[in-house]
Structure formats: structure tokens, C-alpha cells
């Protein structure tokens, strides 16, 4: 990784990274990318988020779904429904699913990721972020 020598460099890097983060390092067509975020703080892991992540990785491979990227993230705050998974389908608002165990991943992939069909277990988002406050 190259060192950042000035604020300008940092700003340029940020602009570049902003796109890259959206691409989630796949470098593919962002319009066609499914983003899967799994909350992996202690609460999530204790509730089985690692199994959920393994199940997603395994099943996406099995089903030959190439346009999905999985990332881990911190606690979303819904400790009451861990493991929680946020899925953003191309061009749609993100949806958070609660209590996603390995079995539930099958249903989510088959119905939501493949067909955009909602399934039981959605958690409504209950907060504003600082971006929205601008």
C-alpha cells in the first residue's frame, strides 16, 4: 500500500475508494452486484454469524451465483435478532434480515437474491445516519 503524503492525496484516494467500495473489490458491473453484509461483532458471532457466513459462501458457490459479494461488518444494533444480514440488491434499498441461521440462508438466496421476493424475518431500520442529516 502506498503511503499517503497529503490531504489532497487522501481526498483523491477517497474518491477512488468510494467507487471501489461500492464495487466491493469485484471490479465488475456495479449495477449488477448483490451486496451481503453480515454483522460480525461478538453478539453476532456468538449467535452463529460465522456459520451463516460459511453457509452463504458455500451456497452462493454451489448455485453458481457470481454477482454477490459478502463482507463482514460491526454490530448493527439489533442484538435481539442476531445473526443479522443486510442485503442490497442492485438498484434497491438495503433490507436487513434477522435470525438468519444456515437454513434461512437457503431461503434468502432462492427467494430474495435470485428473485427479489421478500421473505419473513425482515427487521425495519430504526435510525437516521449522519449522511441523511446533511
Amino acid at each position: 500500500m502506498a503511503k499517503i503524503k497529503s490531504l489532497d492525496e487522501l481526498k483523491k484516494l477517497r474518491e477512488k475508494l468510494q467507487n471501489k467500495v461500492e464495487l466491493r473489490e469485484k471490479g465488475e458491473n456495479v449495477d449488477d452486484l448483490v451486496q451481503i453484509k453480515i454483522a460480525m461483532a461478538t453478539c453476532g458471532i456468538a449467535a452463529g454469524a460465522k456459520d451463516t457466513m460459511d453457509a452463504f459462501i458455500g451456497k452462493l458457490n454451489e448455485k453458481n451465483i457470481k454477482n454477490a459479494v459478502i463482507t463482514q461488518t460491526g454490530c448493527m444494533g439489533y442484538c435481539h435478532s442476531e445473526p443479522t444480514v443486510e442485503i442490497t440488491l442492485p438498484g434497491k434499498e438495503a433490507v436487513v434480515f434477522g435470525n438468519v441461521d444456515a437454513d434461512k440462508t437457503e431461503e434468502i438466496i432462492e427467494k430474495y437474491i435470485k428473485n427479489g421476493e421478500l421473505v419473513d424475518g425482515i427487521i425495519p431500520v430504526g435510525y437516521t445516519t449522519i449522511e441523511e442529516e446533511k
Binding site: K5, R14, K20, A41, T42, T71, C75, E117, P124
Partner: protein, 598 residues
Amino acid sequence: MANYKMHVLICGGTGCLSSGSKAIADNIKSLLKENNMENDVQVLMTGCFGFCEKGPIVKILPDNTFYTEVKPGDAKLIVEEHLIKGRKVDSLLYKDPMTKKHISDSKHMDFYKKQMRIALRNCGFIDPDKIEEYIAREGYQALGKVLSEMTPKDVIAEMKESGLRGRGGGGFPTGLKWEFASKYNIGEQKYVVCNADEGDPGAFMDRSILEGDPHSVIEAMSICGYSIGATKGLVYIRAEYPLAIERLQNAISSAREMGLLGKDIMGSGFDFDIELKYGAGAFVCGEETALIHSMEGERGEPTTKPPFPAESGYWGKTTNVNNVETFANIPVIINKGANWFNKIGTEKSKGTKVFALAGKINNVGLIEVPMGTTLREVIFDIGGGIKNGKKFKSAQTGGPSGGCLTEKDLDVPIDFDNLVAAGSMMGSGGMIVMDEDDCMVSIAKFYLDFTVDESCGKCTPCRVGTKRLYEMLDKITKGQGTMDDLKKLKMLSGVIKDTALCGLGQTAPNPVLSTLDNFWDEYVAHVVDKRCPAGQCTALLQYVIDPGKCIGCTACARVCPVGAISGKVKTAHVIDQEKCIKCGACYDACKFGAIEKK
């Protein structure tokens, strides 16, 4: 694939289910079938919407209509009016309690605006192990801005202007603390310390921030270092937080690789580096002087202040200690400006506060609300109310140093000063919610047990005094207390408060004092009537069989480990109170609710 045009989301959380949301779903489904619409409209049970007070909730997508207090009988209206004719059902819409207007869209409801994420802005959004994701979300911009456009004095002025107060519990103004540290200069080396020793029972916000957004703390520590003239940062973190440690280490090394930590940061000539110091997880080590001693390899014992760490801190050098959540706010304040920040919150407490909601509440989790939000909003709107439809009894804030808030405090706007006035304190933000089944004497005993274990033992009032408090509470829960004990409890608490060496000892009697104040009747019931109103104190309980309900199935007699239950098959049984050890096995075994706890 069914190509649904509309989705009906029905809350399947505990609260709404118990008020009939399953029946609503069934009714809507069968009405859809009657109208041949089952392939056009999808009906889903969801997780809790959090707004249990107005449940059951039905939300309709894509037009984002939010119906509250829906009854199974309303299914007809929803299907015929909304789903078929596309007209919103006014009578089911949420009515704003202030303006009395109907609000159809959840995005415009106060409830969903009540949470605001500043310290938690990246938690759950970014991958904490990838510095690129942090940079993409304005990460290290604040540090860059500070290094290239601001003098250390400017930074401190901005912090003072923002009104940020320490989130570790004390609520000391952060800008003022930085100013002290910038003025003192004992020896050549100054230190910035991040206090990540989170020891309050029920608190997990610092851990979650470090696990979810470690870079924000690193960036803020560097900004602090620049403003007070320190080049070294230390994170004091308890070893029980292995995942937080791992993510923090990873974040530090990637920041170093990119030249955002280390020598000559972003070509500004400013050097700053961070290392971790591990604590063994002692409650007292969250107190800054004890924390510093622990970092030096001494026992984690506090010393009197002054001297403050700014005058004589780590190895006697000028040191500034801030808590994780305090740091997490700082990059945002620099990026968006003090004026943006100080518009949020109350007059004397600016910004937001993260709470770890735990206990008998539906939505256990991590929330962040603007200062000034009321306890009622936190517990009933965001927290989704009390589990299993029980009655709210008390909320314990501030950990062992705090107190119990009760029903009368529900509408107090939460900020540093109001909580103290209500007999509790902010503390680090743990909030444990209790329902009618919790015995307040036992709760006080629980906290004292914790303090006894965690007292460092340096001063007598805390070492011996808290032990005596615990013993008296124990006596009371066993039905051996006297009114004299209650008097002694109060007096001893006062003495400990006045004479203990550090903040932890001085606040240790708070759970006792606040429960004595708010739940005096409950103490008296234990002492005089030898009765525990909440039915928690085992020694005071009696298990009795109601002969009217008992059908003589013998299930209870079979599970009783001491053979205290007798009776013939198909006739009512009796419990021999002399033999009964109050284990509760019979209570769990009885399928007819014939056994009562008294």
C-alpha cells in the same frame, strides 16, 4: 416466480404476536385468496418494528404505508380499500400525538427519527478490517484537515465549542480536558490514552465501536495527540475483548502502512503512533488514575486527584485520558464543525449517547439517541417495551455507580445533569430494564456483590463498607433483616459515599440508596412481612398447591427431590412446608397452573 406487486409486512415480534398479528396475517391471506390476489400481494411476518406501543403494526410496500394498532377485523378494510382500490385507510394510520395529524409514512414518524447515529455511524456499515472502507466514508479526512488547516489551539477551541462531554460516565467537557493537557508539559513526552476498559454490568458499547469501527478511534487519538502535543497513544483494553483487540491491531497496522499513523503523517511533519496495553478486566481500572497505574505495571489502584493525569499521568508525564465513545465522536465534529454538533442534544449535554439496552426488554441491542430523549422513548418506542407484556418497574443506568429510575422518571429527558438529579447517572450507557418480577432488594444485592468483588481494597470504606452493605442485603433477602438494618444501610451508605478514596467507592452505595428511596415498601415487606413482593427471594417463598386447580396427576410429586409432596392419584396434593427446599421443580412441572408462588 411469483411476481408480487405489493408486499404486506406484518410485525411478528413478541409484542405484536401477543396482540394478534398472526390472526391479521391469516385474515389478509384468506381474503387475498378469495379475491384471487394471492399471486399479486405477498404477506410476510417480519422482525420487530420496535414500535410495540402502537402494535400490531402492518406496513405496506412499495408505498410505505404504516398502519398501527391493527385488529384482525381490520384485515377486510386493508384488503378491500388499500390492496384492491389503492386507497390508504386513514383510521389505521399513525396519528402524531403532537400535531394530531395522520402520518402515513414511517420515514416521517418521530419514532424512526429518534435514533441518530454519530458514534456508531460506521458500525454495521463498513468492514472494520478494511481501511479502504473507512477512508471511503470520510475516514482520516478530519485528521488531514486538522494537520493541514488548523493549529492545535484551533482544534481545542473547536472541541470546546462543540460542547462534547466525556462519554465514559463523568461527563467532563472534553475540550477543557484537552486544554489542560496542552498547557502542562512535564517531561518531554506526552501521552494520549484511550480508555477501553468497559466494566459496567450490561454495557457493551465501547466493545461494539472497537469491533465495528476501530479506525475512528485511531483517527481521533491522533487528532488529540496533535492538539495537546503528544506523539504517543495508548489504548488500555481489557483482555476479555479478543475480537476488539484483533480488529484494533489490524487497523493500527494498516493505518501505519498507509502513512496515517507513524512518522510524518500525510507529509505534515507530525508523528503519532499507537500501541495497545492489555488490562486484566478490573472494574476499578476504568478510573483514570487506576488505569494509569495498571499501565505502568502496578496494581490497578486509584490515587487522589489532584494531581490530575494532565499534571502527572503515565510515568509522571502529561497524559490525556478519554473513553472510546468520546473519541468516536471527534472525527465527525471536526468534519462537520462544532456548530453542527452543538445543535444536537440539550443545553448542557450536546450530541448523542449510545446505550446498551439489556434486561427485560423486547429489542435488546445497541442504540444511539440525541441527548434529551426521554426514558419512555428509549424503552417503549425504540426498545419495543417490556418483554412478555409485563409491567415496567425500573431501569438501572450508570452500572454499579448509578441508580434505579422508576415510572415517575419516564418522561425525564436523558442527559448528564437530569439523570444525576433523578438519583442516577449516565455512566457509560448501560441500561438494564427490569419488570414487575424483579426484586429490587436482590438487584441492589447483585450490584453490591459486584462492587465487593471489584473493590481494589485500597481504602477501608470501600473494602469493608461495601462488604457490610452486602451482608445486610443478604440478610434481608433471607428474611432475617430488621428495621434497624434498614437504618444502618442508609447510614453506612452515606459514610462510604463521603469517605471512599475514588469515584468508584463513592458511588458504590448508589444502587442501595436509590432502591431504598424508590422501593422502600419492598424493603419493608421483606423485613416486616417476611415476604418478597416480586416472588424472587427463594428463602421467603412458599409453594402452595391450589386444591381447586390440582387434578392429582402426580407430576409434581414425581419431580420433588425431597419427597415433600403427598396426595393420592386424582385427588389434590399438598406440599409439606417443613420439608420443601423451594427448588421450584414442582412449579415447572405442573401443567395446570395449580402451584402458586407466594
